[in-house]
């Protein structure tokens, strides 16, 4: 067991021999389960939840393996292993998902135990990236770096990851269960669109306390989560979550999968009655068994590597002069960086949304490059965002231009974060067995149409989200412009929603009118954006113009004949 803190991976929990033993046992277990499936001892119906618990779906063209990136954090060594898996077992590609994971679209069942073994070799796994269990806990992509952060949420995210791993009571829930945790007053995790959203901040004694939101979600029935509890003490975190999930497991609907999420239960009971049940469960529990002792938290915290943030005194000045000297670099800094808590550092967002490209798709070579850049510029640390981009969290300001030049050279320097081109899209009907329509081609056409960076910056902040079906993996309800693919007699149509947001101003987008045929959709959105440019006040973002004027002003633009 390594206890040398100098070798701990930055920004994530360092596995020890016990954790590695667990992972190798889990791989052996899956290998044995695959063996029984192939031998006919397990039916497909029985095997399905077992493979889903290891992230393996059967999609349209092949199996898809979703690898967990706990709270979005990974190291360069892990990224290189993912590149190797892409080359060896897939078709040279990986795809970053909207829940900070990465998935491979062309996997063979017979290869999967070997792939999981390779992942275990770099302390990675696919545990609970699918199935009716507690999924990967998501987190702020600027955690531990952001200037506005009150508390690094990754320590508690890791504790929740461990607690939920092969949880004996909660592995066959009515439906999947998603937890997000934020430590910033600016919600970057969509806390109120999760089954449980935790907003952490320091309590009176300096220990973390949590505001607990419950019953949010998108999908068929989009609902904004409600506050269940203020200032939950850290030591009660696990006991309280046990109580919430236990109430859900006992009372959540199991007769209809579309009504099985906790949000439906919370709505059916009403938040007061739901809270009563949770409180009754909580009161009965032997809290000593579940107590999250500060010593436990600190033990986990001690397994996290801390970056040595040393920058030259003139780092910020150097960045200023670099920006003045190069307008293109200056634009990228404006759009693709985020303020760091240390004045000599900055967080850089690598856009995985090239103009006209597939949102979130990376080639094996790009993965290797990102790994190399992480080593050279950010302590070997890589973050996957729920916007399907990549963040290098701790870049020295005086080295930012060198980073940008290398990104540019590899086609990874697109300056579009938070702009029209930064589209969130699910894989859609090109890959997904559940989809009704293709998401990616719409994203590609929009992104190509608005490729001009000046135009994008002029349009300003605009979140476009595309889902290929009502399950809403593209979070269309949360987009300023949401696009939902629907099936009409075997053909693709797209329904537009306006005014959604997953941030502090959380809102569910409203349907603007009848669905459009595929070849009308991109033009309709272009007219929508043109209308905004005409109607906006000075400095007003799309979402604010929409909120000021309402849907009517935009409806004509969408449905007006040319």
């Amino acid at each position: 067991m390594s206890t040398d803190t100098a070798t701990l991976p930055v920004g994530r929990y360092a596995y020890d021999e016990v954790d590695r033993t667990f992972l190798s046992q889990r791989v052996a277990q899956f290998r044995e389960q695959v063996g029984r499936r192939v031998a006919g001892e397990l039916t497909e119906d029985e095997f399905k939840p077992l493979r889903l618990m290891n992230g393996l779906y059967l999609q349209l063209h092949a199996y898809m393996l979703r690898v967990a990136v706990p709270y979005g954090m990974m190291g360069s060594d892990q990224m290189r292993e993912l590149a190797h898996i892409a080359r060896t077992y897939d078709r040279d590609y990986g795809h970053f998902t909207t829940r900070q994971n990465i998935q491979f679209n062309w996997i063979r069942l017979e290869d999967t135990p070997d792939i999981l073994e390779r992942l275990a070799g770099v302390n990675m796994h696919a545990i609970q990236t699918s199935g009716n269990c507690i999924r990967n806990v998501t987190c702020d992509e600027f955690a531990g770096a952001a200037a506005d952060e009150l508390l690094d949420p990754r320590i508690h995210a890791e504790i929740l990851r461990q607690w939920s791993t092969l949880h004996p009571e909660f592995s066959f829930l009515p439906r999947k269960f998603k937890i997000a945790i934020s430590g910033s007053p600016h919600d970057r995790v969509a806390a109120r669109f999760h089954d449980i959203g935790l907003v952490a901040h320091p309590g009176p004694d300096g220990r973390a306390v949590f505001d607990v939101f419950v019953g949010g979600g998108l999908g068929r029935t989009p609902i904004i989560g409600v506050k269940l509890r203020d200032n939950l003490p850290e030591e009660d975190l696990l006991a309280y979550l046990e109580a919430v999930v236990r109430v859900y497991n006992a009372y959540g609907r199991r007769d209809n999968m579309y009504k099985a999420r906790i949000k439906i239960l919370v709505q059916a009971l009403g938040v007061d009655q739901f809270r009563e049940k949770v409180d009754a469960e909580f009161a009965q529990m032997n809290r000593a068994d579940y107590r999250l002792d500060p010593a436990i938290v600190e033990g986990i915290r001690a397994r996290f590597g801390i970056p040595a943030l040393d920058a030259p005194a003139n780092a910020a000045d150097r960045l200023d002069s670099d920006r003045k000297a190069d307008a293109r670099f200056d634009r990228w800094v404006r759009t693709n960086t985020h303020a760091h808590r240390h004045e000599g550092f900055i967080s850089a967002v690598v856009s995985i949304k090239p103009d006209g490209g597939i949102p979130g798709d990376v080639t094996a070579d790009q993965m290797d490059l990102i790994a190399a850049l992480a080593d050279d510029f950010s302590f070997g640390e890589i973050r996957v965002t729920h916007m399907q981009n990549v963040v290098l969290g701790h870049v020295r300001k005086d080295q930012l231009r060198d980073l940008w030049l290398r990104l540019e050279g590899a086609g990874l320097g697109t300056p579009n974060i938070g702009l029209v081109g930064d589209i969130i899209a699910c894989p859609g009907l090109d890959y997904c067995a559940l989809a009704n329509a293709r998401s990616i081609p719409i994203a590609q056409k929009l992104s190509a149409r608005f490729a001009n960076p000046e135009l994008q910056e002029n349009i300003g902040t605009l979140r476009i989200n595309i889902s290929g079906c009502i399950n809403a993996c593209g979070h269309h309800h949360a987009g300023h412009i949401g696009i939902l693919g629907v099936d009409k007699r075997g053909e693709e149509f797209f329904q537009l929603t306006l005014g959604g947001s997953a941030e502090n101003d959380v809102a569910i987008g409203q349907i603007i009118g009848p669905a459009l045929p595929e070849d009308e959709t991109v033009d309709a959105i272009a007219r929508l954006i043109d209308t905004y440019l005409v109607l906006r006040n000075e400095g007003e973002a799309f979402i604010d113009t929409y909120r000021r004027l309402g849907a009517a002003s935009f409806k004509d633009a969408v449905y007006a004949p040319a």
Binding site: L60, H61, P441, G490, E491
Partner: protein, 148 residues
């Protein structure tokens, strides 16, 4: 490179990367619906009373899409055996009961486009299954005579 035979290329809805057509939505709807005909369920094996279908599944070991051929399962829809819809339910039952049924997952029938010259599914979903993801033409299934 295989060509995706989207219905849109014939009747002007749901096309790939085509020049935008500005006509009234209602006209477009009408044209699409007229082109498609009666209800087709893309998710399961319900289909028209008339017309023809092929039978498909995913192979257990590698998940690849396969089509029921005169002998065994083929990766190429061009090799698929075409059934009249009056006979396809029985054929699906037989396929599910066959000795090699445990080598595939999720056997169901796919309605074919009566207007297509080659074996072509009617729905976008099944055309993507048959001819590969539209966003990666290089990932289209390769036509081989090999039958498993």
């Amino acid at each position: 490179m295989p060509v995706l035979q989207y219905r849109s290329e014939k009747n002007g809805c749901a096309g790939l990367a085509r020049a935008p057509i500005y006509s009234s939505l209602r006209q477009l709807h009408a044209r699409c619906l007229k082109g498609i005909g009666s209800e087709v369920d893309v998710r399961n094996n319900r289909r028209d009373m008339t017309g023809a279908s092929v039978i498909t599944a995913n192979r257990l070991l590698d998940g690849r899409i396969v089509w029921l051929a005169p002998q065994g399962w083929s990766e190429a829809i061009g090799q698929a055996r075409v059934f009249d819809n009056a006979a396809v339910e029985d054929a699906i039952k037989q396929a599910k009961a066959a000795a090699d049924a445990n080598t595939v997952v999720g056997i169901y029938g796919v309605q074919l486009d009566p207007d297509a010259t080659q074996i072509t599914p009617l729905t976008v979903r099944e055309r993507i299954r048959a001819f590969g993801p539209t966003v990666h033409p290089d990932f289209a299934p390769v036509e081989t005579p090999h039958v498993h």
